[in-house]
Amino acid sequence: MATVTVAARPVQVARTARAKAIRRHVLIYLGLAPFMVIAIFPILWMVITAIKQDADLYLMDAVPFWFRQAPTWKNFDFLFHHTSYGDWIVNTVAISFWVSAITLLVAVPAGYALARLRLPFSENLGIGIFMTYLVPGIILFIPLARVVSLLDLQDSWWSLVVVYPTLTIPFCTWLLMGFFKTVPFEIEEAAMVDGCGQLGALLRVVLPVSWPGVITAIIFSFTLSMQDFLYALAFVSVSDQKPVPLGVATELIRGDIYFWGSLMAGALLVGVPVAIVYNFFLDKFITGITGAAIK
């Protein structure tokens, strides 16, 4: 009899532990469910809208989440054949390219100097450059509108190439400074002993081992410029010069009529890739802006 209880006990313990784990999971999932629904439902609804036929979209007596007419790609088709969507994509890509290029050209040397060269005031300079990230566009957009018209760039996407680096340079300088600090000094010293100058050491030794930082800076040049709406709205009003978010928001409406299907299609086609890329780098963004204060 005694042997039976001894044998049964571990099984029972395992069973209660399992039951406990299951109960814990159920509770956590229940707690997370409302957050999930609130976060994801709007996006799901956008997807459904984007691939529905118009007649199906406006049937209010039926369940809106089902398809009574076959899903369609015609909303996407419409974007490319009857709007300037193609131009907007080209503009967005071109803006991202130039903003990334300018950001790297300016932020890499600055981040390196702040992290490596033991300059007087480098701490204050670093914080000073980063703080400009916090000066909100809403205070700057009116004077910048004047700057843009002085440069004769109004109604051209080049105006955004000039303005977006004010968002990306402060952030990326700060981010790259952190990256450069993690590169061991010895590598650099060895290179300099081997006859590289300071610049040679940066280009040939430090930069190649800091490529994850450089890639991260490029990603943020892209995602941070994609989050903007204000500058694009204020500086670009010619249809074929707009970046995608502005174009979709302002050009797919005729008077009071909204082309919801195409609106959602156009918004998602660019929004989803941006969100996915940003998702992977979100932790870097958070530590970038807050890490300094939390660590």
Partner: protein
């Protein structure tokens, strides 16, 4: 050997040369425009007139004299504080849930942060469609749950067309976008709390409430403040939610300072008046920026 040829001097020259482009860029395109906005606010500059005259505080005075300005100011404060509190509460709850180890945590986390990572104009368009006056999917769901009447009945709320509801709706979209950010910031801070501290408190016989008040709250409060400060700066400077959903309507009920500044300065062409209106945000922003500056300076070098 003269001083400027010493290795130290050469390092300084090299270093400041590398820094110069960044410093110049932000000075020219953030610093100068900021000063320029102070000047504009004191002038009668407009998009049409090439020459601006100094008008003193007239722009501020005439802004303050309109009733829409007060609505905008009140809405801005209400919006920022109300949405801020909600984001803090939801973000904290979510952060504690996501802190637990469970299956599928990474996937769930990745999905929940999508509102923050999606470009803001994109998601606001989705919300505009969900708040549509005739085909709102929210109303459809509410009517199926028997909370409101059938389609076409007067009980269907017009989310963006009724003053009070419209303000709540734009606030809700801001909360929807911001709560994942609060949660992730808190999560980053909480994971940096060494679990030994919590375990030690547990061994010492502290109850959950005691641990919460004495250990967890003092640790998360500073992080929550920093997250909220960043979020408030983002919220105050964002016009896209209100601009795209209501453009300040109905009848100015959702007007906030950013939309008022845009409509006055860029649409209306009164650059001076617009600049003055946006500068009213400065007294709210400056304390936040100073707070963040202090937090950043505590960084260990």
């Amino acid at each position: 050997m003269s001083w400027w040829r010493t290795p130290t001097a050469r390092r300084y020259t090299f270093g400041y040369t590398l820094l110069a482009p960044a410093v110049l860029y932000v000075l020219l395109l953030v610093g100068a425009p900021f000063l320029f906005s102070l000047y504009l606010a004191l002038s009668d500059a407009s998009t049409g007139a090439p020459v601006a005259h100094f008008v003193g505080l007239d722009n501020f005075r005439s802004a303050v004299e309109t009733s829409v300005f007060y609505t905008a100011l009140r809405n801005t404060l209400l919006f920022t504080v109300g949405a801020g509190i909600l984001k803090g509460l939801l973000g904290t709850t979510l952060a504690f849930l996501l802190l637990q180890p469970f299956h599928g945590r990474k996937v769930i986390r990745a999905l929940i942060v999508v509102p923050f990572t999606l470009p803001i104009a994109v998601s606001v368009l989705g919300w505009k469609w969900m708040f549509d006056s005739q085909f709102s999917v929210i109303n459809w769901a509410l009517s199926r749950l028997d909370l409101i009447g059938p389609y076409g009945s007067a009980s269907w709320p017009v989310w963006l067309g009724q003053p009070g509801l419209a303000l709540l709706s734009v606030m809700f979209v801001n909360v929807w976008r911001g709560f994942p950010f609060s949660a992730i910031v808190l999560l980053a801070g909480l994971t940096s709390v060494p679990p030994e501290i919590l375990d030690a408190a547990k061994v010492d016989g502290a109850t959950f409430l005691q641990r919460f008040r004495k250990v967890i709250v003092p640790m998360i409060a500073p992080i929550l403040f920093i997250g909220s400060a960043f979020d408030t700066v983002f919220t105050l400077s964002d016009l896209s939610i209100v601009y795209l959903l209501t453009n300040g309507g109905p009848d100015g009920a959702t007007e906030i300072l950013p939309t008022l500044a845009y409509n006055t300065g860029i649409r209306g062409g009164a650059l001076g008046r617009g600049a003055a209106i946006s500068l009213f945000l400065l007294p709210i922003l400056l304390p936040l920026i100073f707070f963040l500056l202090r937090a950043l300076r505590r960084r260990q070098y």
